[in-house]
Symmetry: C2
DNA sequence: TCGTAATATTGCAATATTACGATAATATAT
DNA sequence: ATATATTATCGTAATATTGCAATATTACGA
């Protein structure tokens, strides 16, 4: 049980704890797709036969550090598989996970539209 | 045409202009669902028969100002219809728009999974 | 007209996110 | 061993987002 006093109150932070986990989950998944770089990364990875690594930097035009950061955000949700091959790391979609996420979002969308006035 | 010099470069801002519009659109739509308060608002609105207005404040437990802000974010994407009835404003899903958005996201999801290695 | 209820807007505080350069870490090739 | 290529991490700068109090706005009712 978390409470605030007028002293300890912290502004500017998403109050996740007031929402049920099912709702927080949907928001977390959506956040992965809420930045164009991450959408572009997922699109590009899925389009390559052998999957790709650091061509994303050339392809997208953001710095290596930034791309790596975005890859980590996507990966934290379990949506990527990465295998090292020498110096190179080949990224690949975790399709099972991706479809899980898609299903969850769709289930929310469908419930929402079907219940509406 | 936007260019940067090493002087004028601005950090910390999403570089939308380097991405095709189709990708920016997906990211914009996803952003609506990327906060639990907005997910909860959409869920609640869809569950009420007559649609609802400021019960969201009681229901969700964020301040009136904050709820109003989130409603504006959702509304900016065209996902809400609001009709005034006296002092009260009844919110309702714009289902056509909602399904449009759902379709677009799904089309991205499907393309992504189907092409992957 | 005045008070009340409902919503929107403004201003502010604080954290979160985005982006990059520099550096570290790892593996290969010479 | 050294140099090079590749990716991850750290530190930092700057904007974006979240949340609330206070205020404005609008509509109704007495």
């Amino acid at each position: 049980m978390i409470t605030f006093t007028s002293q300890s109150y912290i502004m500017g932070v998403t109050k996740r704890f007031i929402f049920p986990e099912s709702i927080n989950q949907i928001a977390s998944f959506a956040k992965v797709f809420a930045h164009p770089a991450r959408v572009a990364i997922l699109k590009y990875i899925s389009e390559q036969e052998g999957c790709i690594c650091n061509d994303l930097v050339d392809e997208i035009g953001l710095s290596q550090a930034t791309i790596s950061q975005h890859l980590a955000v996507i990966g934290d949700t379990g949506l990527l598989k990465g295998t090292f091959e020498g110096k190179k790391k080949y990224y690949c979609l975790n399709i099972e996970r991706f479809q899980e996420v898609q299903l969850l979002l769709n289930s929310f969308f469908n419930k929402t539209t079907s219940n509406c006035c």
